[in-house]
Amino acid sequence: MDKKLIYCDNAATTKVSKKVLDAMLPYFTEEYGNASSIYMLGQSAAKALLKARETVAKAIGAKTHEIFFTSGGSEADNWAIKGMALNGSKSGKKHIITSVFEHHAVLHTCEFLEKQGYEITYLPVDEKGLVNPDDVKNAIRDDTCLVTIMFANNEIGTIQPIKEIGEICKEKKVPFHTDAVQAVGNVEIDVKALNIDMLSLSGHKIHAPKGVGALYVRGGISLPNLIHGGAQEKNKRAGTENLASIVGLAQAITDAVQNIKEKQEKVSKRRDRLIDGILKIQETRLNGDREKRLCGNVNISIRGVEGESLLLMLDMYGILASSGSACTSGSLDPSHVLLSIGLPHETAHGSLRLSISEETTDEDIDYILETIPKVVDRLRSMSPLWERICKNEGITGTI
């Protein structure tokens, strides 16, 4: 067996880059001071923290004081949503608008609030995986305390009409939060130009380590405290800062937003080659809009095969990918995202997500395109479902 290892699951997590690691290392054994301490070692930590905050703010067009560091995207989402819910309840506003295909960090938080007596509107998405801004407009009520719509979907990579939604929310004076975990570093983001009030981002999706992220909160919005204790993060999130990781996040976001256009061009060309190549296999379909799509995202349903066995077999060939099948989602149903765009269960079970990065080479793409048909052929040859599809629909040939 070939000893290749082609990592195509960058939407799940990424490798820490050498540059990020180098930036972080001094903060473990040399610059290990507590940013709250008065002596020089502490003060230099405080300076590094401030610099990291400036860097992250600049990368998304925010002001330095609008950035709050968190442990990652899920924490940022929880903070923003529960925070706005708490604010809203003070004036009797207990209605939140979101979409059906959000990340679980948003969906499960909304479901939790529903149990606490909040009303949640889950907007549908169309068959291409896009939210209609008019739906947002029509759903806003006098008691709406938050609109939270993801920037780009983690499974099918569709980029939402954030600017339009932001404009509507601004006009209606409803706070607008977006989970931009997948978008940061892949899409140009200027929170002011896009009318975003709150934005969640995560380090480990952009080559920083796991366990660090940030929440942008537009100045003027009063966000309730998340962790009570010390004065860190403007008294809102106590606990000694995870400085090494924060420095890593700052380095990663700097690298990610630099030459973003070049990156988009380079990666999307390879993505398109992958999409076109895989779609040559009969009875396959691309999930999510072809154009309004993250530059590294490929999500294809392959009829007659099941996602987990596809992933296990690809793993044997050194290709690491992901799927929205029930077996891989850890639940009984296939991915809620794939069901939300109208896929039947059996088609959703056979989905394959490849999320490539700048490091994915043309040779990698060639190898993936050589391997996938072999694996699909093998699994279809032992699939009674494929046998039935062929028989009922008059399909001939193996792939």
Binding site: G304, V305, E306, G307, E308, S309, L312, M316, S325, A326, C327, G330, L332, P334, H345, E346, H349, S381, M382, S383, P384, L385, W386, E387
Partner: protein, 143 residues
């Protein structure tokens, strides 16, 4: 979730994959909605399962349990095969993650359903012999 080496072995090199054109009994269980379908073919000579083949649409555990079940019943008498439980399949595979136990139930059902079909073809009512095989919907994996 981690699969045992045995599961990975049976997933990577499944035994008895295929169809039997002149099978004496064919059973199919599961459904595409749940993401698992198992189809099993048996050939019976003098009460002995002389050959068995399967086709499975499903996860790694579904393929491995089908493979193991066929291996366990090949060359056995029908009476012996009917004593095979999903537990025995799981044990032979050196365990399955809890979320995958329903795959072993499906494998047992597929085998029983093929034997039931064999009896039907012989003009014998299989229910008193095999009992209620159960439906995919009855298995605990989906509820």
């Amino acid at each position: 979730m981690i699969y045992s080496e045995k599961v990975m072995d049976h997933f990577t090199n499944p035994r008895n994959v295929g169809e039997i054109a002149d099978a004496d009994g064919v059973g199919e269980v599961g459904n595409a909605k749940c993401g698992d379908i198992m189809k099993m073919y048996i050939k019976v000579d003098n009460g002995v399962i002389s050959d068995v083949k399967f086709k499975t649409f499903g996860c790694g555990a579904a393929i491995a349990t089908s493979s193991m079940a066929t291996e366990l019943i090949k060359g056995k008498t029908i009476d012996e095969a009917l004593k095979l439980t999903n537990r025995a399949v799981v044990e032979a595979l050196e365990g399955l993650p809890p979320a995958k136990l329903h795959c072993s139930v499906l494998a047992e059902q597929a085998m029983k359903s093929a034997i039931a079909d064999y009896y039907k073809k012989q003009g014998v009512d299989p229910t008193p012999i095999i009992g209620d095989i159960g439906e995919c919907e009855d298995c605990h994996g989906c509820h």
